[in-house]
């Protein structure tokens, strides 16, 4: 069953990439699939409707649940990062307060590798942020604010 959901998620990602102009070879490389599977998926073959439905429900979870669910299914941080990034169309804006002590818990926690420490302060690359808010939850000084950009 998890395998089918993964297929559903990869299908959603493949469709999204196609919309953005990537060709099948590029999509196969990005999603670590073989090209013929990508071709089948994009033509609606070899993929069950139910898998796609479940994947869609997961995609529309709140960002933290989406991220943790994808990671639980894939068990691979790099692949999780790819799928989550492709399937998210919301942008986020971060702000680090002056109370940041540069402990690095946020950068350790961020699965998207969006947080680095710079001059004794955390710095979030909004480009990579998936809006899961895990960093803010873990921050011992409540210094992180992430807002959705409409």
């Amino acid at each position: 069953m998890p395998k089918h959901i993964i297929s559903g998620l990869k299908y959603l990602a493949a469709v999204e990439l196609r919309k953005n102009g990537y060709n099948q070879n590029q999509i196969a490389e990005i999603l670590d699939m073989n090209r013929s599977t990508v071709s089948h998926y994009l033509n609606g073959r070899n993929i069950s409707v139910n898998s796609v439905e479940v994947a869609e429900v997961i995609r529309d979870f709140c960002r933290k649940d989406f991220l943790t669910m994808v990671y639980t299914l894939l068990k691979d941080v790099n692949q999780t990062r790819t799928i989550v990034k492709i399937c998210s169309n919301t942008s986020y804006k971060s702000n680090i307060g002056n109370s940041c002590i540069a402990c690095g818990i946020c950068s350790d926690a961020c699965m998207m590798n969006a947080v680095v420490l710079d001059d004794l302060k955390a710095k979030i690359n909004d480009e990579f942020c998936c809006g899961c808010l895990i960093c803010g939850e873990m921050c011992p000084t409540n210094s992180i604010t992430i807002t959705e950009v409409k």
Binding site: I101, A102, G104, I105, S107, L120, P140, T141, S143
Partner: protein, 350 residues
Amino acid sequence: MEMTDVINKDISVERTGVELRKLHFNNDLCAACGLCEKVCPVTAIEVNPTGAMVRTEQESSNIDIDSSECALCGMCSCICPYNALNFDIDGESIKESDLYPRLIKSSEIDEETCIYCKNCELACPPKAITIARELPVRSKLVTGEIEIDKDTCVNCGICEEMCPADAITLAYKNPTSIDPTISSGIDVNKDSCVYCLVCKKACPVDAIKAVCRTCSYGDYDLNSEDFGTKGKTFINQETCVDCGWCEDICPVDAIKVEKPFEGTLEISGETCQGCETCIMACPCNVLSFPQPEKSGGKVEKIHKDEKYCIYCGACEKACPVNAIDVVRTKINCTPIKSKAWQKAFDNVLN
């Protein structure tokens, strides 16, 4: 004697993520001053009651670090004046990094000026100083030598018995009919002789001649390079507390000490009960009990000398009756780049 197990009172906290962050607490170096507790932004550190600790063989560490609270930021390590808390990121101490503020504290001996008198070594409260000295060869410093006229000498042995340096030896033997003497010779060890002339004055037959090098040849055969004491000085930077005892006691001003904090130390004579806890807690030997000039005389309860104080606050923390007030007015440290760190450091000022 009963053997007790050595209890490891050190504490380590670490986290592996983007970096390997590791905090290590060395209990032997800790003075329980409480600066780490004051600076910690997540209240993960608690200093155990020090009054009891310095007086009894406590089995616990001076401080407790709650590893579930500790965020591994490194602030405690940067404020600790006693090097008891060390913080490494990927194996490198943050004290080597310009990113983190570092207390400006140091104690240095200028070997050009040092005369190797060892006053600092003896005065240093944590025994962090070692002076290894090489004395000049004594015989080169002696201004003359003695000679014994063997024909006049009667082998009485008075000079041998009297020589304070044990430099004279008579080779006693049994007299025989072939050689009817009691000694086969008398020898003066020139390396031991200090030219004190006791032998010459004591000799009953005036057999000892003294040759003064200064008088007979002038000063030139005494090479001033032979007089000096040479040596090496060593300060253990880990155990050194930068208290300034060495700088103060050095008779030739060869030592420079920079202290991490500035402030004042007040002891209320009225409140003080003279329990000695502060004296035991102070790592810098700032405090002592004064002795009255005559028995029964009245003196102040505790004597302090602030020139040895680094204002760590260990005495204040240890005092069971709150008779001590340590006020820190300034931290001497390299620039603090973060506002949160600045605020935390300001917390230890009052």
